[in-house]
């Protein structure tokens, strides 16, 4: 017996055979069909890219310490922010949660042995790697278009250098890796849910992954064909997007944002799913408004297809369209606010564990609130005209993309780290890391709201010395260094936990979803029998067990796996 699916949760954890030790050797990893190993490979790859993208971010911030620029000329600066954006968007935030964490936990949360198409899953991973190589190669060929590949920059042979074709090829391949992962998750959720797990008994993380996968499948092909046409335009000079040949660069923007705005929700929705899990588990309180949170994920996915035009208020599109897109943009605030209110209501009167994971969860809510509320200024036509292409926009999307999506990813890493590795990380180090991060983050980006509202345009390598912007830039840069330190602290305690960390119990946080019912780390097959499904947010059936340093099933509560109806559903 290698799993603990229906047995009381206080059985000893698996000692020998688990997914990390089941087979050994390099080949057993690179050709694995095991969703957990593929998830870990994604995780390592994404974190490597995060390091690379982070280095470019620090270069950009260091450059702006002084008005005339400190370390780069203007072309190098353009390349640095382009590669920072491209790597962070395409190689870190988009795949971070669905491909890495989603791959690891989704099948276990469903009580399944794997995803619906394990071979396709492995193919997606290697396609992603090939795409990532193409994108990173553009560093050497030169790429200075910004991550949006806007025409006519991207078709200008002089300024864009040779990196456009490899970069769009990479983004095209990454897009299809994302599509295949999304397809796999949709089919897995539809076809491999266990008996008793109806749609409204699924963990909310699965709802968010499902909504994300729908966007991946529907929107990503549009980006694929748009980038393919951009590559053809650049190579042959046809005149579709190139204004010098009679083409329309705004047409490119429409098709690009038709994908790339939904892509914002590909990034943020899974993070919201993680927060729903983390807030409930670490508050030890039933999630408030389950169905509202679930439906709000679907609502956000639908709205995401209807708001792309708000990126183009200054592009010359018709005033009527601007008004329509502005109105729909405000509508997105409703499902987003539904989630925030329900998370707060869940914490109310909960027994909150003030651990690192929960700190990141609460940090997410704070930062997402700022990111969301400042989005309203940009959704308003009059203020957007003033704030467009300033540092206000940079600050806003970093509060949503980094402060929310990436922090959701980091929060999820902390939440599932004991499950993935079987080891606990050092809590004190984790809290120190969080404080460093939180202070550094707000120093970096809150000052950029001021910069933007005072008129500092984005993507400029230098700025006038008498504009009064340098103080903000210095504070912002110091904040970015603090953040970098916090990430090294995080890497240190995660790595240290692998070698010397305390052994993790099967259920160290007190979760009820199925991944907490198998050992840490999980066995190769996850579950040898289909696990019994209960209310995944009813924590009253669990109690803390000092001996195993984890949560176990209360002796006075009948276990659903023992043939009795669950008392607390």
């Amino acid at each position: 017996m290698t799993t603990m699916h229906t047995a009381p949760l206080d059985r000893p954890t698996l000692e020998g055979d688990n997914y990390l030790t089941h087979t050994r050797g390099f080949r057993s990893w690179i050709l694995t069909l095991d969703h957990k190993r593929i998830g870990i490979m994604y995780l390592i790859s994404v974190l490597t890219c995060f390091l690379l993208g982070g280095i470019f971010a620090l270069l950009v911030r260091t450059q702006l310490l002084v008005p005339d620029g400190l370390i780069m000329d203007q072309d190098q600066f353009n390349q640095a922010f382009t590669l920072h954006g491209g790597i962070m968007v395409f190689l870190v935030i988009i795949p971070g949660i669905p491909a890495a964490l989603g791959n690891f936990v989704l099948p276990i949360m469903l009580g399944a042995k794997d995803v619906a198409f394990p071979r396709l899953n492995l193919f997606s991973y290697w396609l992603w790697i090939v795409g990532a190589i193409f994108l990173v190669v553009s560093i050497f060929a030169g790429l200075d278009t910004g991550w949006t590949f806007y025409t006519p920059y991207s078709i200008d042979q002089n300024s864009a250098m040779g990196g456009v074709i490899p970069a769009v090829t990479g983004a095209f391949l990454l897009g299809f890796a994302s599509i295949f992962t999304g397809m796999n998750f949709i089919v897995t959720i539809h076809r491999l849910r266990p008996d008793g797990m109806t749609w409204f008994r699924m963990p909310l993380f699965l709802w968010s992954i499902y909504a994300t996968a729908v966007i991946q499948v529907l929107a990503t092909p549009v980006l694929g064909i748009t980038l393919a046409l951009l590559g053809i335009e650049r190579a042959f000079g046809i005149g579709i997007f190139n204004p010098a040949l009679g083409g329309d660069p705004v047409l490119f923007q429409h098709f690009f944002w038709f994908y790339s705005h939904p892509a914002v929700y590909i990034m943020i929705l899974p993070a919201m799913g993680i927060i729903s899990e983390v807030i409930a588990v670490h508050s030890h309180r039933h999630i408030f408004g389950y169905s509202f949170i679930a439906w709000s994920s679907i609502a956000i996915a639908i709205f995401s297809f209807l708001v792309w035009g708000h990126h183009m208020f200054t592009s010359g599109q018709s005033p009527l369209m601007n008004v329509v897109f502005s109105f729909i943009t405000f509508s997105v605030a409703i499902p987003s606010a539904v989630k925030v209110f329900n998370w707060l209501a869940t914490m109310y009167k909960g027994a909150i564990s003030w651990n690192t994971t929960m700190l990141y969860g609460m940090g997410f809510i704070f930062l997402f609130l700022i990111g969301g509320l400042t989005g309203l200024y940009l959704g308003t036509l009059a203020t957007d005209i003033f704030l467009h292409d300033t540092y206000f926009v940079v600050a806003h999307f970093h509060y949503t993309m980094m402060g929310s999506a990436l922090i959701g990813f980091i929060c999820g890493m902390h939440h599932w780290w004991p499950k993935m590795t079987g080891k606990m990380f050092n809590e004190t180090a984790g809290r120190i890391g969080f404080v460093l991060f939180f202070v550094g983050y707000n120093l970096t980006f809150f000052t950029q709201f001021m910069l933007g509202s005072h008129g500092m345009p984005r993507r400029y390598a230098t700025y006038p010395a008498d504009a009064g912007w340098q103080t903000y830039h210095v504070i912002s840069t110091i904040g970015s260094y603090l953040m970098a330190i916090s990430f090294f602290v995080m890497a240190a305690y995660f790595l240290a936990s692998c070698f010397g960390g305390r052994r993790a119990a099967a259920n160290p946080w007190g979760g009820r979803s199925l991944e907490w019912q198998c050992s840490s780390p999980p066995p190769f097959d996850n579950f040898s029998e289909q696990p019994a499904v209960g209310d995944c947010y009813d924590f009253s059936v669990l109690r803390w067990d000092e001996a195993t340093r984890g949560y176990v099933w209360r002796e006075d509560v009948p276990h659903p796996g023992h043939g009795e109806e669950e008392a607390h559903v």
Binding site: L33, A112, R119, M183, V187, R191, L229, I232
Partner: protein, 212 residues
């Protein structure tokens, strides 16, 4: 040749040794859903491409009348592709009736027609290339007209080549190997994919005729 009745042990143990699916039937259902999602994705891909071309074309009222004519091979390949779809539908119907010969005949004919389609496309490209105006002196409309043909047909042919793989696999199993319930699913899925290719081709052809 062996009969098409299921002679292999059930593959209900699923992917590798992990036993993702309890029954073969579950696996086929998952495959059907995966295929449906793939076709939706590809539909978005081709749809977006056609939309870009229409957006360019509709915004340009002065479309030249001296663009190259569609090669005659395009029409022959259309007949071949429609034929592929029809004989695959017949093969699926034969499989439901339990007619081994019908399945084999349908698959062999489908393979032959698909090969004709691909060959005709290659020939059409050759002819198209011969009609191309000088690129340097070409107007924007000429460039879009010429390149539109290349992009539409090559994207479609790429998916046809992808469709030849499952067609060859299911044909190989039908003619030379044993048959099992999961092969029924593969046959149905292959036929569905080729019906999709057929439908997409009709849309692309209409785009080429009326927009380019």
């Amino acid at each position: 040749m062996e009969p098409l009745a299921s002679t292999e042990p059930s593959e209900g143990s699923g992917e590798g040794a992990r036993g993702v699916y309890a029954r073969d039937e579950d696996r086929v259902k998952a495959g059907s859903m995966g295929l449906l999602l793939l076709l939706i994705t590809l539909g978005m891909l081709f749809g977006a491409l056609v939309l870009v071309i229409l957006a360019v074309r509709i915004g340009d009222e002065a479309w030249p009348s001296d663009l190259p004519h569609l090669p005659w091979q395009v029409w022959v390949s259309t007949v071949a592709l429609v034929g592929t779809s029809i004989v695959l539908a017949e093969a699926v119907a034969a499989q439901r009736r339990g007619s081994d010969t019908g399945v084999r005949l349908g698959l062999v004919m489908a393979g032959a027609l698909a090969a004709i389609f691909t060959g005709m496309q290659a020939w059409a490209w050759y002819d198209w290339h011969a009609q191309m105006p000088s690129w340097e002196s070409a107007t924007q409309q000429h460039r879009i007209g010429v390149m539109g043909f290349w992009v539409l047909t090559s994207l479609h042919v790429a998916h046809v080549l992808g469709g030849l793989v499952p067609l060859a696999m299911v044909g190989w199993y039908a003619v030379f190997r044993s048959w099992s319930a999961s092969r029924d699913g593969l046959l149905r899925h292959t036929a569905t994919y080729w019906h999709f290719l057929d439908a997409v081709w009709v849309v692309l052809l209409l785009t080429m005729v009326f927009a380019l």
